[in-house]
């Protein structure tokens, strides 16, 4: 079987995402809730940006804006030089915070439906689906329905659905939040090796600072609502060694930006 018949990797390489002075707000009844305020940063092609910030600060909102699911109230997002258009962006693959699986479809069809919508033929979609269900370790459950899955399993299906699109811009909203520590480590490993195969531009929202250090090329630390960027912390190869002083330093730097005392044990979660 020709498993490497995917479109030339070069065409799947990520582009550049620029978040330029983006502000956003929601109407909450008569009140206006400011969510993002002058957020600016750039993710270079193929880089992984991990976004951390307090709950409710606007991380998911930022992902929605990046995917073109909503337009920012002010500022601009640019993808490959062009403003992100409201509506369809065929380069995007996104795994949402709630898995958002179609409950009337099996796991397999939930993953395949995205590929079919993006124009893959049936056989192609089935092959890619099988491949990515394997990646998230759910091959056995391809015929199960979402109601039969645990929270973490459903989330993994959502991840597989996003990955299977082989997107040039991959948006992940706390993808590993609902899985146990062991599965999380495994998925992080898988994720790293996937990134080596194709190199999408990634925005990865997480509450887990060690995860951000181990996966990100840089960390975008956001403040309380209305969120702005507190600091952008570059992560180098040597920072990823959890036993190193460099790691401890990045960890405490990030936590400090989040306004948390750098108590390492308390930091592992949240």
């Amino acid at each position: 079987m020709n498993a490497v018949s995917d479109p030339a990797p070069a065409t799947r390489r990520g582009g550049e995402l620029i978040v330029d002075n983006v502000s956003h707000h929601f109407a909450s009844g008569p009140r206006r809730v400011d969510v993002l305020q002058d957020v600016s940063f750039t993710i270079p092609p193929g880089a992984v940006a991990c976004v951390v910030g307090p709950s409710g600060c606007g991380k998911s909102t930022l992902l929605n804006l990046s995917a073109g699911l909503a337009g920012p109230a002010a500022g601009e997002l640019r993808w490959d030089g062009d403003p992100v258009r409201l509506g369809q962006n065929r380069d995007v693959g996104m795994a949402f915070q709630q898995p958002g699986l179609f409950p009337w479809m099996t796991v397999e069809r939930n993953v395949a439906v995205g590929l079919r919508t993006r124009g893959h033929d049936k056989r192609d979609a089935a092959r890619i689906t099988a491949e990515f269900l394997e990646t998230v370790g759910l091959t056995e459950f391809k015929d199960a329905y979402p109601t039969q899955l645990s929270g973490g399993m459903a989330q993994r299906v959502g991840i597989a659905r996003a990955l299977a699109l082989q997107p040039r811009l991959l948006l992940l909203d706390e993808p590993f939040a609902a899985v146990d520590a062991f599965t999380r480590l495994k998925l992080q490993q898988e994720f790293k090796s996937l990134l080596k195969l194709s190199a999408p531009t990634v925005m990865f929202v997480t509450h887990d600072v060690p995860e951000a250090i181990s996966l990100g090329d840089f960390i975008v630390v956001m403040s309380h609502r209305p969120a702005s960027v507190v600091r952008i912390i570059e992560i180098n190869r040597e920072d990823r060694d959890r036993s190193s002083a460099a790691y401890a330093h990045k960890l405490s730097e990030t936590l400090e930006c989040l306004g948390v005392t750098s108590d390492m044990d308390a930091a592992t979660d949240d």
Partner: protein, 268 residues
Amino acid sequence: MTSKEAEALGKTTRPRTGSRHPLQRIGLPLVGVVLLIATWEVTVWLNDLDSIVMPRPMEVLRALGDLVVSGEFWDDVVVSLTEFGSGYVIGVFAGVVVGVLMAEFSVFRATVHPVVEALRFIVPFAWIPLVILWFGTSLLGKTLLVAYATFFVMVVSAAKAMQQVDPTLTKVGRMLGMSRWRLAFAVQLRAAAPTIASSARAAAAIAWIAVVAAEYVGASAGLGVLIINASTSLQTDVVIAGMVVIGLVGAGVSAVIGWLSRSYLSYV
């Protein structure tokens, strides 16, 4: 890990029914029915009621048997079911279409909502005099009345069901690049379908009530007519037999709709 998960899955594949012993599954409902009939029998006996006022269960059963073997009875059943079926299908269809449009287009919603709210409390029975005036005792009149009754139940519940669809599903569809129509039909309507189906089942009861009520007031055939005719000739056993049939047919219709929605819409 995964094999354990698979095992757990195997256990959950067949939820609901089947947890009880078959003897209990048939026996318990039987006990309920027997209790009902016993209460009836005892009430008649204790109060020493005349069979014109309240016949005993056996008398009703006999009347029922006579009805079933007579040809006219089946004609009445067919007439009532036809009135029900035509009106119900039209009402459900129109109600779902309008309800979905209300959920999808805010301009449409703003326009139609006050009209729906104004009309839906004018219960079908209030229309009966006008319906008879306009359509006589024809099938068309009853069909429209039943459609009306069904429509307003369905409009409101379909619009609500559509609005309650998990917004993440819509986002997912848009992220994948689905067209507006595909999103509306293949995602939102599909997600709302089980809720809409259960309202359709509730609407069937209301539609069936409308059929019988309309027949009581003005009709030349149907189960309602059968009952009214029997009551004018003081055949109370036939009246009650007719009521039993109305109950059974209604329950049958409801069961069929429930079965349809389970086999085509449910997830597992």
